[in-house]
């Protein structure tokens, strides 16, 4: 253990800001978690009593369940597609060196960078013409495009950490390029790919703006249902859903930590987003 550091003004400032940020980030979460167990039919704080009624309402309501099913039906294929396509693209783009490479990376990252309202309006317009509006396929395609940037960046970050001499060694030992890739490189970047996949899962599940445009009452992900519920009448059901979602992502995050620990002793912190 190091000896406690002196509290200099800079350190004090940093600690104060970190404390503030922690409070700012955690406070809404704490409110959501608390209200999900509220006995009151409104979002009143502090809740007058404890109740599980909003969870019961969520899990018993066929509409919530139907929209949950839609979300899952979109989330799984889209995040798998995004992982496959994003990983392949990351490998390709880390290997080719030409002037346009960074342009192509920029292009693949565009859905993350371009204000989402533009993407939503554009996709909505095109999907209506192509008959993809209000279909699960349309949602899967849109979510794939929206989540590719996350997979791309996590995988690219992992690739950057991989020692390319390993591959050269395998090649000189007579392995085919393809084989040396699969046997040597791929296992090393797997944690990055997996964290990309998990990001894709969560982002898809929580996506609202684009889904709002391209879904209909028959094909409607849960976030859109929450939004329309919130627009109509607010009761703590949405906090119960948000809490369930949070617990789900917490489990996913823990799984990710376990996987990445097993896969590699040390991995670059925050390869998660690849920055």
């Amino acid at each position: 253990m190091k000896k406690p550091r002196a509290l200099t003004p800079w350190r004090a400032l940093r600690l104060a800001v970190c404390g503030l940020v922690a409070a700012m980030m955690l406070a809404p979460l704490a409110i959501v978690l608390t209200l999900s167990f509220s006995a009151a039919p409104f979002l009143t704080f502090p809740p007058p009593g404890f109740s599980l009624q909003w969870y019961a309402k969520f899990f018993a309501d066929p509409v919530w369940m139907a929209t949950l099913r839609t979300s899952v039906m979109v989330m799984i294929p889209s995040s798998l597609c995004a992982s496959a396509l994003g990983t392949a693209a990351a490998i390709a783009l880390s290997r080719v060196r030409f002037r346009g490479a960074s342009l192509l990376i920029g292009l693949l990252m565009a859905p993350l960078v371009v204000p989402v309202i533009i993407t939503a309006a554009a996709i909505f317009g095109a999907f209506r013409v192509w008959g993809l509006y209000g279909t699960v396929t349309g949602l899967i395609l849109a979510h794939t495009v929206l989540t590719i940037p996350f997979v791309l960046s996590t995988t690219l970050a992992s690739l950057r950490m991989v020692d390319r001499t390993l591959e050269s060694a395998a090649l000189t030992l007579g392995a085919t390029p393809w084989r040396s890739f699969w046997r040597v490189i791929f296992p090393l970047i797997l944690p990055g790919v997996l964290s990309g996949l998990l990001f894709a899962l969560v982002i898809s599940f929580d996506e609202l703006t684009v889904s709002l445009f391209i879904s209909t009452p028959t094909v409607r992900p849960i976030t859109v249902q929450m939004w329309s519920d919130v627009r109509g009448s607010v009761d703590p059901t949405i906090t119960a859903i948000a809490t369930s979602l949070f617990l789900f992502t917490l489990v996913v995050m823990l799984a990710e930590t376990l996987v990445s620990r097993r896969a590699r002793g040390r991995r670059p912190p925050l390869a998660a987003l690849g920055f």
Binding site: A6, T8, P9, W10, R14, V17, C18, L20, V21, A22, M24, M25, L26, P28, L29, L85, A88, I91, A92, R95, V96, R97, L104, L108, P111, V113, V114, P115, I117, I118, T119, A121, A122, I123, A126, L141, T144, V145, I148, L152, P177, F199, V202, I203, D206, L208, T209, T223, M226, V230, V234, T239, I241, L245, F246, L250, P269, L270, A272, F275
Partner: protein, 274 residues
């Protein structure tokens, strides 16, 4: 295997982005020029009524304020993350990534519960005697900024952290042992080294902030209208695709110019350091 062949692995992703992103955006551009008839009338309409320019300006001011606030509080956090112990770092990573794990919508409502007149924050402030009457913390610009900064902070902290953690440990150690980097050294050495992270973070936060509408709609007041809300009104209330597309294309153009500007500055800054 020739290098070029690897390139084909990127083809499916590029094709998909092309079809589901580029083509629709191109279609939007076309629509802005052709709906209801060919010409620049939709762009003319944007400039014909002062409300659109006002709202564009509003959007830039809000996005700029969010970016500045994110930088102001994100830099110390990223610095702490980069030079803290493992446990502190883990905690901060968890805290910073929270926005990714909880629904944006529900969080916005949680802010209302916290910030309104009879909300938690005001009650604590009034009960403790810090203020005499409840403060107006929401349904105004302050509410929008609080809500947006919380969501956008990860996009500032993560790129900053990536850069700060790569700055030679000596600086970090020096900072740690000295308790603070001497101001002059910070300005001359540390800050310039961290600038790529600052630029990336600012660009990302600013550009993505331009497209917000849920947060200003729920937490803002009458003066916090952003351009995304106007685009929605045009499509949803009027079915006016031409004007909506023109607004979106102008926004996209603004975002592209901003990005180019940031990269230009970044490139100019990096050259002497090479």
């Amino acid at each position: 295997m020739p290098r070029g062949r690897w390139f084909w692995l990127a083809a499916p992703a590029l094709l998909l982005i092309g079809a589901v992103f580029l083509v629709p955006v191109g279609w939007l551009l076309l629509r802005s020029l052709s709906d209801p008839r060919w010409g620049l009338q939709n762009y003319a309409a944007v400039f014909a009524h002062p409300v659109y320019l006002r709202v564009f300006w509003n959007t830039i001011v809000i996005a700029g304020s969010v970016t500045a606030l994110c930088l102001l509080i994100g830099y110390p956090v990223a610095y702490t993350m980069a030079h803290a112990g493992e446990r502190g770092r883990r905690f901060l990573v968890f805290v910073i990534l929270i926005p990714f794990w909880t629904s944006l919508l529900v969080r916005t409502y949680a802010w209302l519960v916290l910030l309104q007149q009879n909300g938690l924050v005001n009650r604590v402030l009034v009960d403790s005697g810090l203020v005499a009457a409840p403060l107006q913390l929401v349904y105004n610009r302050l509410g929008v900024l609080i809500g947006m900064v919380q969501v956008q902070l990860p996009f500032m902290v993560l790129p900053l952290y990536a850069v700060l953690s790569r700055i030679h440990p000596r600086y970090g150690q020096a900072a740690a042992t000295l308790g603070a980097p001497p101001v002059a050294e910070f300005r001359r050495v540390y800050l310039p080294l961290s600038l790529p992270g600052v630029f990336t973070g600012c660009a990302l936060v600013f550009i993505t902030s331009l497209g917000y509408y849920i947060t200003p709609a729920l937490l803002g007041g009458r003066q916090d209208l952003m351009i995304a809300q106007l685009i929605l009104i045009q499509i949803g209330d009027f079915g006016n695709w031409g004007l909506a597309a023109a607004l979106a294309i102008i926004l996209l153009f603004g975002a592209a110019v901003t990005l180019a500007l940031f990269y230009r500055i970044l490139a100019a800054r990096q050259r002497p350091l090479r």
